[in-house]
């Protein structure tokens, strides 16, 4: 029981544990994304070691959306450096000639028009205008603080608002979620539906 809890809270054994992948000749887990030295300098890029995407993204839009969605920024751009399919998985630590790219359901491509919007400011004003969103400043996230404190980054929704890239504890099927979506609890944290 104890071991399960430990493993559940780490990247070890998760989908983001690439140590056994053939393209990861280092056999290391962290190195695919991070390096302790000579990291790529970028805001919100924690000791970044993976080649960054330069793609221009098509963003989500809808007739009733009140949020203003820009190009993916901050940490979301790091995720998309694998998940847009333009940068090879093994292009880290200075490598550039990789040949392994994401496929299947985890490949979002650079067309994000069919994906939940990201990189938009989610504040009390947006919640008020939309009418179907909770106020992030006052609404509990279920994670100990408010939505704004626990799920937003500089007031913006990002990939990491829903996903914890290091933690496979929550979610069935395993989607590296920040909190369990049983009974749609993750969705209903923000959406007042």
């Amino acid at each position: 029981m104890f071991a399960q809890v430990i493993n559940a809270q780490t990247i070890v054994g998760s989908k983001h544990d690439f140590s056994a992948q053939t393209w990861n000749t280092t056999g290391e887990i962290c190195k695919v994304c991070h390096t302790p030295h000579n990291a790529i300098t970028l805001p919100d890029a924690p000791l970044w070691n993976h080649q960054l995407t330069t793609a221009t993204f098509t963003t989500y839009s809808s007739a009733t959306m009140n949020a203003t969605v820009g190009q993916p920024d901050a940490s979301s751009k790091l995720c998309l450096s694998c998940h847009d399919g333009t940068v090879a998985l093994e292009n880290f630590g200075g490598n550039t000639g990789g040949t392994h790219f994401l496929t299947g359901t985890t490949l979002l491509s650079s067309d994000l028009s069919n994906d939940h919007p990201i990189s938009f400011t989610y504040d009390a004003a947006l919640a008020s205008t939309d009418g179907g969103l909770f106020n992030p400043i006052t609404t509990p996230s279920g994670l100990g603080g408010t939505i704004n404190a626990n799920m937003l980054f500089s007031g913006k929704m990002q990939c990491a608002s829903c996903h914890d890239v290091h933690n496979n504890a929550a979610g069935t099927p395993p989607s590296l979620l920040l909190k369990s979506n049983a009974a749609s609890a993750l969705c209903l944290t923000c959406h007042n539906k």
């Binding site: 989500y60 839009s61 809808s62 007739a63 009733t64 959306m65 359901t105 979002l108 028009s113 069919n114 994906d115 939940h116 179907g132 829903c162 979506n181 049983a182 009974a183 749609s184 969705c187 209903l188 959406h191 007042n192 539906k193």
Partner: protein
């Protein structure tokens, strides 16, 4: 004390989610997860949003949709008067139909490789009111452009900018979500606002005269006798006014397809209230009588845009004489239409289509002014005329005063308040019999839908012929005093002809509608004289005519009951 406070806080914590969810999808039938409120739900899956939405790889993109396009061709709503052009369902409507057309398993979502199992082995939407099927002919049209020109063409729709919120257009079109909010079920059927007092419908529809009509204003309730006049509207709607549009219409699963009526048999939409159970008069009982405007004989023939004068597809329906969007309880004096006939089209005395009719007879003329198949004159007469409009023309030498004051200023038999200046209705004679009837020709036990008896069988020596009595000619005697007639106050030989050996009914000599100016004049066709053919034959000189010599004097050339008048002068 502290314990009590703690209990209070605990109660608030427990209570708070329930308060939030009171306006949430979680407690509705649209929560298809295993925790859902309805009977149709997943066996084990607990995610709620999943059954419609996915955060990634949605199709279509907005609103992050997680279900396949049904990819079927829908049968669309259509009607003779529909100005809108419904296309195949699109926008949000096709999303709704990906469950509600019954073609795709409810548990089939894009983001999951396996179909989610549902309780009770349910796969697609179970049959019932929520399963609209791919036949949308009996559903309110959707996915049509609603713009200013549509409002103008229809004539009874608000302009798009005047649509009353929360009803709204979606990309300029009416879609399911114009009326429904799939995430909230605050009222019933996920409606965004109540249908009470036609509130939802009135957000777009602006029916002419509806505001003051009885179907909008009446506080009448149902007396509880079956059938339930309002089986499809919310149970707390207890008055005609509250039921409003839903007195007759259903926006989904209508019985009629066209016009979205509750029942296909048109009159059933009227007679479930007009049977004495809601409306005070029992019109349904009138249609059980022998002589009637037989609305039960016709179905799917009446068209709301048929010509004012019905010339083909002869029929009669309630709405040929009544406008359910305009009818109201408002008495009138002849010849004006009463409230019950308000907002109905007609043909005026000039033979011109008129909308609405001003005078009651104009409505009768829709069918009785020379339309093929309309009833021929009740009595075969010397002067033949089947067109009622010609019979009542004010230029005629004589006519009952329906369209104008009559020609004869000397009618001593008239019973007050009738005078020679009076005007009467068609329905003064043609109406239901008995005190429970309305003054309207729905049905009567008497031929020609007359409100009182008027026997016409010739008497003479015929034992089965009519014998004069107050009841034999009750119709005529209701305005024309029997005592006056039998005292020969006008025609000096009335008594002799009505009683004694002759026993001639009123109908043998008088043509009650009138004699057209085209067929008679002021010396030949006054006093409604137009003899009955077969009974009255030519005189010894071969003549068959009446000559008015004025001042209650005249001559008749005829043979009747073997008596030769050649002429008989009086």
């Amino acid at each position: 004390m502290i314990k009590k406070i703690m209990q209070g806080i605990l109660l608030m914590i427990l209570w708070f989610p329930a308060m939030v969810y009171a306006q949430s999808i979680v407690t509705t039938k649209h929560n298809l997860s295993a925790t859902g409120a309805g009977d149709v739900k997943a066996s084990s899956e607990t995610e709620i949003c999943l059954f419609c939405h996915t955060p990634h790889s949605s199709r279509p993109m907005a609103p992050l949709w997680n279900r396949r396009d049904p990819g079927v061709i829908y049968t669309l709503y259509t009607s003779a008067t529909l100005q809108a052009l419904p296309g195949q369902p699109d926008g949000t409507s096709i999303l709704c139909l990906s469950c509600h057309d019954g073609t795709i398993a409810l548990g089939s979502v894009i983001s999951r490789a396996m179909i989610q199992n549902f309780k009770g082995g349910v796969t697609t939407m179970p049959s019932g009111l929520s399963n609209l099927s791919t036949n949308l002919r009996n559903d309110h049209p959707i996915s049509f452009l609603y713009n200013a020109s549509l409002a103008i063409a229809d004539g009874q729709l608000r302009t798009p900018e005047n649509i009353i919120p929360p009803v709204s257009l979606k990309n300029g079109k009416v879609q399911c979500t114009s009326c429904h909010d799939p995430h909230k079920n605050l009222i019933s059927d996920f409606l965004i606002t109540s249908t009470q007092n036609s509130n939802l419908c009135n957000s777009c529809h602006q029916r002419t005269s509806w505001e003051m009509s009885s179907h909008n204003t009446s506080a009448k309730t149902w007396n509880g006798s079956p059938p339930d006049p309002w089986p499809f509207s919310p149970p707390d709607f207890s008055t005609v006014s509250q039921n409003g549009c839903e007195n007759c219409h259903r926006p989904h699963n209508s019985g009629s397809d066209v016009m979205l009526l509750k029942y296909q048999q048109e009159e059933n939409n009227c007679l479930d209230c007009h049977n004495g159970n809601v409306a005070s008069k029992n019109i349904a009982a009138e249609f059980n009588k022998s002589y009637k405007h037989n609305v039960g004989n016709y179905m799917n023939i009446h068209l709301p845009n048929e010509p004012n004068q019905v010339f083909t597809n002869m029929h009669v329906e309630c709405v040929d004489c009544h406008n359910p969007h305009a009818a109201k309880n408002l008495p009138a004096l002849p010849p004006d239409v009463s409230g019950a006939l308000s907002g109905v089209r007609g043909i005026n005395q000039a033979g011109t289509a008129i909308d609405p009719a001003n005078f009651e007879y104009e409505i009768c003329y829709r069918c009785h002014a020379g339309s093929p198949g309309s009833p021929p004159a009740a009595t075969s007469r010397i002067i033949v005329q089947n067109n009622v409009l010609f019979e009542f023309a004010p230029t005629n030498p004589s006519y009952h005063p329906v369209t104008a004051i009559g020609k004869n200023s000397n009618v001593p038999s008239l019973i007050s308040p009738w005078t020679t200046s009076s005007i009467m209705y068609c329905t003064s004679c043609h109406a239901g019999d008995g005190s429970s009837s309305t003054a309207a020709p729905h049905g009567s036990i008497y031929p020609h839908i007359l409100k009182l008896q008027n026997l016409t069988a010739d008497g003479g020596t015929n034992a089965t012929g009519t014998t004069e009595s107050p009841s034999a000619y009750a119709l005529c005697y209701s305005c024309h005093s029997r005592a006056s007639i039998l005292s020969d106050a006008s025609f000096k030989e009335h008594r002799k002809h009505l009683q004694q050996n002759v026993r001639a009914p009123c109908n043998t000599c008088h043509d009650p509608h009138g004699i057209s100016i085209m067929q008679g004049n002021n010396s030949s066709a006054t006093n409604l004289i137009n003899f009955k053919a077969g009974i009255v034959t030519t005189s010894s000189s071969g003549q068959l005519k009446f000559v008015d010599l004025s001042g209650n004097h005249g001559q008749c050339y005829l043979t009747c009951h073997g008596v030769n008048h050649n002429p008989h002068s009086y």
